[in-house]
Assembly symmetry: C2
Homo-oligomer: 428 residues x 2
């Protein structure tokens, strides 16, 4: 049974705080194992990669092949049904269109003191993409990670993916073909992340690594942060739905279950001001669960992490939502902008009754790689900016250095840095 | 003696690669100590803070006071000489003006399929600023960290700084007053970073932590990345100067020494196409070193990490500079734009003979918190964006979901996620 809370009940504040503070992330301490793997790959390169792949993925890279043959990607795409191919291509086109608007604008100008000041954005040279094997091998995630890099102008994209016993998901290969990926290595786990960061004889190093993975992959990225850029630390996914009583309980139940079916640690929370609707949604969830092929996962997640919270009115819900800083927020009401204006912390917001979160997972255009675990308080979804960096620049004329140089000399002297002061003073 | 290389010499490629790969960062393994400190502060809060402060900073917070009295900041500012106060205020005004142009623009529109799509930027609620005690307590760094947060619209800024034996640098307090910081805690080290991230009874938690610090502080930030946002992992600072023979050797020597004097691990590298000028600079460095109060540090750094590289022409230098991806790059030539156009990786670029790097440290306007250790390949200087996050949003009409919903259903079914499919299909 999901948690049921009522904002009018005694003890609500404490109960809600407990919900906010509940940690759903596994405390698996893999840091020592990962650290050893990173060291081994750094020292022994491809030899270490082959050893780990044999041990963990049960195939011999020299037999199965280190890289995926681009012909296999073309064949996978050709093998798709037309509706599925069309769907992937629509998704790719819409994701591209949305991300193109994220391209940053350079600046260059001269201010009143005669100082030229500006900023120039450039793409990183190479990006690495981790694609999980097995259940979580989603073609949609591949598109969501690669397209921002392509739009940024990244010249080289290297994908790594484990192929347990040599097997690989053809849908993922088809998506790779649509996304234009030409370099795919059949390695996974922390060892693949290490290879991307440090480089090996076969795999050239990259500058940024993104993409989802298990605890080992996440820890490898965390440990390599600074050697390369990474996307955010990712935790279990979550949805908060704010809905009045005018919604179809079945729709809202499906929305909640679309998070619950991801993983036993996923979280789905409904805020509503209508007690009868709350009951109807809870019953609808129970009716829908047995219909799902993902029933086992969804049932576990909904029982362990689901919550239905009754509020006096939906305005009361909004500061509570902000405390959760959810990855996904649905505002299933007639006037979503009224409530959206009150939101400070959320990864992505789905406005109105006709905007289920799942449409954003696939085809709407915004990125579905979003901050989880209350990280929307300080971080954003994956974007073109994650694959670019900004170089500031300045240029002074003789007049300009006369105008602002003396202040620099004064500050350098006060900070006890005489060469700083001299480098300016000599030019005055 | 600094390293001397000549691009025409046999073995240059290998020698330059060794220079690129040389690690100047300390290998101090403080991760276990830091991990223990973080756990203690998380569990015991202010009690742990007081214990560590007594042990490491040798004062009793209950006696010396936990927080700096705002009156002390006002008094410190009032105590400054007029030129120094004017210099700090000019710096603050120019840094503010530059960073105001970094404020991102929101988007909101409806595309051809009738889908409303947009992105909204908001500031984090609270930022924490680490300010070192002792030698590296620089008022300029305080301004460079606080002003982007203020421009972003951050409502609460909490500063922490160690006050060994209770002492604090009045210049730092004056800068805090100019920057409008009202919350300053007399704690430092990994324990202060932990307090900012987790919160204690006295210190409320923040969302982002920035600011320089020693190996313990840097490791604490690294371990807490994900609990909070942080600025980049910072290493020793560095400058690359590209100069033809038409420069004053004394000016360029001062520029090189302005990095060398920071720390024994700092690095200064000159590229020039003029062998006589290279010699003149080396001699000028030797002449200037004894004049510096920072002579000991600068001499060590220049001998251990300095380099003068003779190239056939300055165009040859540019791909080499890109491999170094320097924090600071001076282009001391008549036509700096010609060379700047060839730069892909640099934190900040200083254009022309009249633009010493030190002017950017203090008063030019761009941020002096910049990526070091080749991290300009994938990261940028501190900016307003580090204190903001982006919420994407979308809204569908009944027509819009008819247009793009079926593709989402097809993809959800292919990925084996039936509740995702149902949440869209029910609305079609």
């Amino acid at each position: 049974m999901p948690l049921r809370l009522d904002s009018k009940a005694a003890g609500f504040a404490a109960d809600f705080t407990a919900l906010v503070d509940a940690r759903r992330e596994a405390d698996e301490d893999v840091s020592r194992d990962v650290s050893a793997i990173l060291k081994a790959v750094r020292a022994h390169g491809d030899t270490a990669l082959a050893d780990y792949t044999s041990r963990f993925d049960h195939h011999d890279l020299d037999v199965s092949g280190w890289a995926v043959d681009p012909a296999d990607c073309r064949a996978a795409l050709d093998g798709l049904s037309t509706p599925l191919r069309d769907a992937l291509e629509l998704a790719a086109a819409r994701i591209t269109a949305y991300h193109e608007k994220q391209r940053p604008v350079d600046s260059d100008g001269i201010d009143a003191a005669g100082v030229r000041l500006g900023a120039r954005w450039t793409a990183v040279d190479a990006a690495g993409l981790y694609v999980p094997g097995g259940r979580a091998a989603y073609p949609s995630s591949l598109l969501m990670n690669v397209i921002p890099a392509k739009v940024a102008g990244v010249q080289r994209i290297a994908m790594v993916t484990p192929t347990p016993k040599g097997e690989i998901n053809p849908l993922v290969l088809a998506a790779a073909q649509i996304a234009g990926i030409e370099e795919i290595w059949r390695v996974g786990g922390a060892q693949a992340v290490a290879a991307l960061a440090y480089g090996t004889d076969r795999i050239k190093p990259v500058d940024v690594i993104t993409g989802p993975g298990n605890a080992w992959v996440a820890e490898a990225k965390r440990q390599l942060y600074g050697v390369v850029g990474i996307d955010m630390v990712a935790g279990p996914s979550e949805i908060v739905v704010v809905a009045d009583g005018q919604n179809d309980a079945d729709w809202i139940a499906a929305d909640l279950l679309s998070q619950s079916e991801h993983d036993p640690t996923s979280q789905s929370i409904l805020f509503t001001d209508d007690a009868a609707f709350a009951d109807a949604v809870e019953q609808a969830v129970m009716r829908r669960l047995p219909l799902l092929s993902t029933q086992a996962v969804a049932t576990t997640s909904w029982a362990a992490n689901g919550a239905i919270i009754l509020v006096r009115d939906l305005d009361e819900a909004m500061p509570l939502v902000d405390r959760l800083a959810p990855e996904h927020l649905e505002l299933a009401v007639d006037d979503p902008d009224r409530y959206f204006a009150q939101v400070r912390h959320a990864g992505s917001v789905f406005l109105g009754r006709m905007t289920p979160e799942a449409v954003g997972d696939y085809v709407a255009g915004p990125n579905h790689v979003l901050p989880t675990g209350r990280r929307a308080r300080f971080s954003s979804g994956l974007s073109v900016l994650d694959f670019m960096k900004r170089t500031s620049f300045l240029g002074l004329t003789p007049d300009a250095i006369q105008a602002i140089g003396p202040a620099a000399v004064a500050l350098a002297e006060a900070e006890g840095l005489p060469a700083h002061a001299a480098s300016v003073a000599l030019r005055l």
